[in-house]
């Protein structure tokens, strides 16, 4: 079958669905939606439709982005814009069905807004809201729109058009368009993708491999999973184009075993692409053959590093090769030339081929073109996945898209780039988002985690948290990383425990620079970034811990005490009953007292104390006790 025929068939199916006289119910059932209860909502709609004898299509779609509004249900009625319902629970399903599927009341108070042409009275357009207006959905173009398990939905929306076009171009022409687009590696390193593809093409040796890095290991990042779950074919198409460009016949997708749904979606997508002649032998009738294997990673953060990842596929310990090492494009998987890119880099390629390098570079900055995807989380109102043009400021992201700090908190810092990144303060909120500006500020773009921290977050504890992570994940082959991260962690633990001393600042600096300069791979080289940025921007918090034995955010247990306020305690005994170490004494209707020598600072008493009393307070530094 020719590509034109494939496209016609797909469009027919897609248009039939679009122009159907029955309503369509699209429910986001990616991992995030499921966690929020989307499957129960699917079931509730199925039952409701059956009971009431209503004909409507239920489609499970990928992640639409705004996790804070999950489970999200989009309902499209013929001739009307799609209404997006937020935080839908099974108990709301009957009401929505009666009011809007049967009747015409959109239940505006349940909606996030509308998508598409036309207006519905009382409901705003989603893309006009402050949270969506600055966004530009390119990599996420199909997520939440198409059924990811149906290849025809993808093909009907320009899917595999990039591959079809690339096959009529020379390999050099594809490299050229990739280079001109300015696309930089979306895994965080930011190496120009076109140059990497060129190196892959020029590399001598056969066979060559194409590897997709979907070993998304940064705590706080889940965009690769969302892309795979919501639009798996975009990644596969990108890989096939890459295979054609460098002259490879075999691709691997290294994906975290913790992402079972993503693996399932990839397996299905690969099988479908085979069926349509888009993958396998003689793709689209040409001489080009390419196949893709899925390799479920076994859980090692360091395998995000390219040389470690390829060794892992070979069945070895994932320990990065020691420098000076050849580039993976020259000596990679099985010591053969290997083109390794991130999920989002591959997913960007098809659109660049279809729409052109200029289109891609039309948003973003001069040196960082296109869009960036972030997982905006932490103490922010609108948590979720966002896609924005490069160059937008941190402030716009946090306050416009994110809706500001949650629970009325006060902004303290924003952490970007995960364990390899850093914490940036209020004064740097106008920093534009691009590879170079973030680097200059001491953080990195990284894989796209962006965690907002408020005044209740202790910056020393955050640094300790990340070092705890890198120390565990260090593969251990080089001393600066294995022992350096361990010692950094020990110093930070001491500071958090009130054992910090004069000279700790200097020691942290010195050690950080040694770990940075002496480590074999990126994991060690960037491990100290959380320490260096918190020291640079939040020195006063370190000082408070070291000199005053005070944790201003009241997080570090060894530096806080819980106390019961005499004038507020009504002697309800709830705290005493729930204290796990029986440290609270007091008769009913009498003021209770915490025995500080027994207290383990678990905070259960504060949580249990009824809000109307709020008689438990947390103080730092610790209250002096006779024992100590």
């Amino acid at each position: 079958m020719t590509f034109t025929q494939l496209q016609e068939d797909a469009r027919q199916e897609w248009n039939a669905l679009r122009n159907d006289n029955n309503p369509q119910i699209m429910i986001g059932t990616a991992t995030c939606g499921r966690s929020a209860g989307a499957m129960a909502v699917v079931k509730a709609f199925e039952q409701e439709l059956e009971q009431k004898g209503i004909t409507a299509h239920i489609t499970e779609v990928g992640c639409i982005g705004p996790c804070y509004a999950e489970p999200l249900v989009n309902i499209a009625k013929p001739g009307k814009p799609t209404i997006s319902y937020r935080n839908v629970t099974p108990s709301m399903v009957t009401e929505i069905t009666d009011a809007y599927l049967v009747g015409e009341d959109p239940l505006a108070h349940y909606t996030l807004g509308t998508f598409g042409d036309g207006k519905i009275e009382g409901v705003s357009r989603v893309l006009d809201t402050p949270s969506f207006k600055p966004q530009e959905r390119r990599v996420f173009r199909n997520c939440g729109v198409i059924d990811p398990t149906n290849i025809n939905h993808y093909i009907a929306n320009q899917g595999y058009e990039g591959l079809n076009k690339a096959l009529t171009m020379t390999q050099e022409e594809v490299v050229d368009i990739m280079k001109r687009s300015g696309l930089r590696g979306r895994g965080g390193g930011g190496f120009p993708a076109g140059r990497k593809w060129e190196a892959g093409l020029k590399a001598k040796g056969t066979p060559k491999y194409v590897v997709c890095n979907a070993d998304e290991g940064d705590p706080g990042a889940f965009m690769d999973r969302a892309v795979i779950e919501g639009d798996p074919h975009s990644v596969i198409e990108g890989m096939i184009i890459a295979g054609y460009t460098i002259g490879s016949q075999t691709g691997y997708i290294y994906v975290r075993a913790e992402y079972p749904l993503a693996i399932k979606r990839l397996e299905m997508a690969i099988a479908q692409a085979h069926e349509k002649g888009l993958l396998g032998k003689n793709i689209l009738g040409t001489d080009f053959c390419f196949d893709i294997n899925i390799f479920p990673g076994a859980g090692a953060f360091v395998c995000g590093e390219s040389t470690a990842l390829t060794l892992s596929i070979e069945g070895k310990r994932g320990m990065p090769r020691v420098a000076p090492r050849p580039r993976t494009t020259e000596i990679g998987l099985y010591d053969k030339p290997t083109l390794l890119n991130n999920v989002k880099t591959f997913a960007s390629a098809p659109m660049i081929i279809v729409k052109g390098a200029e289109w891609f570079a039309s948003v973003g900055t001069e040196k960082s073109t296109g869009t960036a995807i972030f997982a905006l989380t932490g103490k922010v109102n609108n948590c979720g996945l966002i896609e924005v043009p490069m160059g937008i400021t941190l402030r716009q992201i946090i306050y416009d898209i994110g809706g500001g700090v949650s629970d009325g908190g006060e902004f303290k810092a924003v952490q970007t780039g995960g364990p390899s990144g850093g914490c940036l303060p209020e004064s740097l909120l106008d920093t534009p988002i691009d590879y170079d500006s973030l680097d200059e500020a001491g953080s990195i773009m990284g894989s796209g985690g962006m965690v907002v921290l408020d005044e209740k977050t202790c910056m020393v504890d955050v640094a300790r948290y990340f070092l705890d992570f890198t120390e565990i994940e260090s593969c251990g082959q080089c001393v600066p990383c294995r022992l350096g991260t361990k010692q950094l962690l020990e110093i930070l633990k001491d500071i958090c425990k009130g054992r910090g001393k004069e000279g700790d600042h200097e020691l942290l600096y010195e050690l950080s620079h040694s770990v940075h300069g002496g480590s074999v791979c990126g994991l060690g080289q960037t491990a100290a970034n959380p320490v260096l940025t918190t020291l640079r921007y939040f020195k006063s918090e370190y000082d408070a811990h070291i000199y005053d034995k005070c944790c201003p955010a009241k997080v570090c247990k060894s530096l806080i005490s819980y106390v019961i306020l005499e004038d507020k305690c009504k002697g309800c005994t709830l705290c005493a009953k729930s204290c796990p170490v029986n440290a609270i004494s007091g008769e009913k209707k009498q003021v209770h007292v915490i025995d500080q020598s027994l207290c383990v600072q678990c905070g259960v008493c504060m949580e249990k104390c009824p809000n109307k009393f709020s008689a438990v307070d947390c103080v730092s530094p610790r209250v002096k006790t006779e024992v100590s």
Binding site: T31, C32, R34, S35, A36, C67, Y68, E70, E216, G217, D218, P219, G220, A221, F222, R225, A257, E258, F295, P296, A298, G299, A300, F301, S312, I313, E314, G315, K316, R317, G318, M319, A375, T377, G378, K379, C383, G384, Q415, G418, G449, V451, L453, T457, V462, Y465, F466, F469, C475, P580, C602, G603, V604, E607, K608
Partner: protein, 151 residues
């Protein structure tokens, strides 16, 4: 178990580069990697026993002791951490009577932490088997565990 193991391993005779998928498959069937299985994997693939152990012990996914019937996974991602994951873990430890990495005596629960389950908007959260429990407080954790115990 021996027959079952033989069945799983037979397609992998001599396939050294398939070591990680083999380990995943065996653990998937047996729940963990018992000594006998490790020896058998070495024999089948032709790799040395030390090499099989070196690889298996490198990756977080593999374990050498039996696991509880249910897994209780506390997310320690950044978003969960700043929203109180530590207190969630402490409560889970208290309620289950074990510490992180352990299995309850009745082999019902294995309590573990995970770097991130990617449900950051629902922080702090835990994953019990395949189900995610979202936006937790220590009190809710205690209630969930008590509720499951009485079931």
């Amino acid at each position: 178990m021996k027959e079952r193991l033989h069945e799983i391993l037979s397609p992998y005779e001599g396939k050294r580069d398939q070591l990680i998928p083999i380990l995943q498959k065996v653990q998937g069937e047996l729940g963990y990697l018992p000594d006998d299985a490790m020896l058998e994997i070495a024999r089948t693939t032709g790799l040395s026993e030390s090499r099989v152990y070196a690889v298996a012990s490198f990756y977080a996914q593999f374990r050498f002791t039996p696991r509880g019937k249910h897994s209780f996974l506390v997310c320690r991602g950044t978003a969960c951490h700043v929203r109180g994951a530590e207190k969630i873990l402490e409560e889970a430890e208290r309620s289950l009577g074990i510490v992180e990495g352990e299995t309850t005596k009745d082999l019902q629960y294995t309590l573990e932490t995970v770097a991130c389950i990617g449900c950051c908007a629902l922080a702090p959260c835990v994953m019990i088997d395949e189900e995610v429990e979202a936006k937790l407080t220590p009190k809710m954790v205690a209630e969930i565990i008590d509720g499951r115990k009485t079931e």
